[in-house]
């Protein structure tokens, strides 16, 4: 007993020093259980958001109004599946397998970003998601490229590069609509009106109400507070909206000389909590479709596993025979 305690303390000291020096924790390194579980929770939620996030955009693949836009949208949805793959792999390095995490998603024990519980009603929503939702995601994720956990930080570097590409494509889509016919302009404005507030909610509850923030910041999983990131996002979007020729649906939006930031109106946190609880417009649909795809695909996964096992047995038998004849 007396020898374990100093060892534990020493390992913890190494961990703390690594984090303090802004170096990376790697899968083989010792880490506190709470650090591990906090990362698994965050990475899983992020991975789930990527795969659930495919749905609102996939909703428009078959209706994309030009072949160029169709190719861009398909590539984007494919990137999201790819992000899901890297992130589930990053979670695997912490001992959490993909099947286990998917079970938790399907049974509602793990969450995904609430933004994807809003519907994509028109083609302009594809642009609004790119500009605002991907824009907010990037604001959140760029600091994660310096996250203390190596595999997550490295996955985020790749994810952020692709996300910023998506964000520019979304902006360009909206710009084309805004400068197009009156009907197209109206479609773009309507989409921005519907996506603006939910995008601001993506940064999570205000700092004084955020359950996980303080510890995550101490561990350098997280680098900036929810409110700081939200303000950064608003400051970026206001001039971009102007360049787009679109307005943001907030009468309180004005430049604050003293703060050097844009002031914005109050966020409807009651709506946020309702959507989080499962009462958003598409919660049932999103998780229902995910479960259905998983259940309908079960026979395919079982077939692949059975085939792989048979091949492995045959290979072993062949190797065994070879051994015996030698």
């Amino acid at each position: 007993m007396t020898t374990i305690a100093p060892e534990e303390t020493a390992r913890e000291a190494v961990f703390d020093a690594t984090v303090a020096a802004d170096e990376r924790i790697e899968p083989r390194d010792w880490m506190p259980d709470a650090y591990r579980s906090s990362l698994v929770r965050q990475i899983a939620q992020h991975a789930h958001s990527e795969i659930i996030g495919m749905q609102p955009e996939a909703n428009w693949i078959t209706r994309a109004p030009s072949l160029r836009r169709k190719a861009i949208l398909m590539a984007k949805v494919q990137d999201e599946a790819g992000h899901g793959l890297y992130l589930y792999s990053a979670a695997e390095t912490l001992g959490a397998g993909r099947d286990e995490l998917l079970d938790k998603l399907h049974s509602g024990r793990q969450k995904y970003s609430s933004i994807f519980n809003y519907p994509t009603l028109t083609w302009a929503d594809v642009g609004a998601i790119g500009w605002l939702v991907d824009g907010a995601a990037i604001t959140n994720q760029v600091p994660l490229c310096r996250c203390s956990y190596g595999p997550y930080a490295r996955a985020m570097i790749r994810v952020c590069k692709e996300e910023s590409f998506h964000q520019r494509q979304g902006y360009e889509l909206l710009l084309t609509l805004s400068r197009g016919t009156d009907a197209q302009h109206a479609m773009a404005q309507d989409a921005v009106n519907r996506w603006w507030w939910p995008s601001l909610m993506m940064f999570g509850p205000p700092d004084d109400e955020s359950a996980h923030s303080a510890q995550s910041m101490a561990w350098k999983i997280k680098r900036h507070s929810n409110d700081e990131l939200r303000q950064r996002f608003v400051d970026i979007c206001v001039p971009q909206a102007e360049a787009l020729g679109l307005t943001l649906p907030d009468p309180d939006l004005r430049w604050n000389e003293e703060r050097g930031h844009w002031d914005f109106g109050p966020i409807d946190w009651a709506e946020f909590r309702e959507v989080l609880k499962g009462n958003g417009p598409c919660n049932e649909e999103r998780i229902g479709r995910r479960r259905r795809a998983h259940e309908e695909g079960a026979w395919v996964r079982e077939a692949a596993a059975a085939h792989a096992a048979r091949k492995a047995r045959n290979a072993a038998r062949t190797a065994g025979t070879g051994e015996a004849t030698r």
Partner: protein, 239 residues
Amino acid sequence: MTQRTATPALPLGDDALILSHRLGEWAGNAPVLEEEVALANIALDLLGQARVLLSLAGDEDELAYLREERQFRNLQLVEQPNGDFAHTIARQLYFSTYQELLYAHLATGDGELAPLAAKAVKEVAYHRDHAEQWTLRLGDGTDESHTRMQRALDALWRFTGELFEPVEGLDTVPWPALYDRWTARITAILERATLSVPEGPQRGAWTAGGGRQGLHTEPFGRLLAEMQHLHRSHPGATW
């Protein structure tokens, strides 16, 4: 609009366009995440081919969005609904095996399709490999997957004779030889997968035919309705 409806780029472009559209319907519905990536990748390759081919025939968007059902020249095979994963794989196996053989032939010629065919044949070789690997897994997987795969192969068999009807403008293609090679390949892979080559007719009785002349099956009208509605709702708009 100026269109060259006689060019073989149109039927081949329509094949790629319509199959890409069907594969795009899988997004968010695939049985496993790796297949989300793979099916989207194949759909994107096909869409890329379609855009090059349709541009040889006219304006890609006018051709994709403003033609009526009877003006499309694609094979009836590619417009068939996705069905379960086995149906999609059977459709992929039949079509990509055909497309690889056809493009490999076109790539060796000096026609206007040769550069596209030379590039696309590499993509299509991957599509064919993907379909073969899944045919093996499903055929030689569980009882259920074997049954489903055989059912899918049987159901789509009557659409395969049409693949070898000569295409106007592709006069150098040795269609009967292509058919023999296709049959040999399909037979070999189905044998390895412990599946049977379907016994139904490929010609005569009710089998597919007429796609190249603009005759399609019922599901095709709904596919076009979905694909074209937004573009057609805003005449003259730029996207």
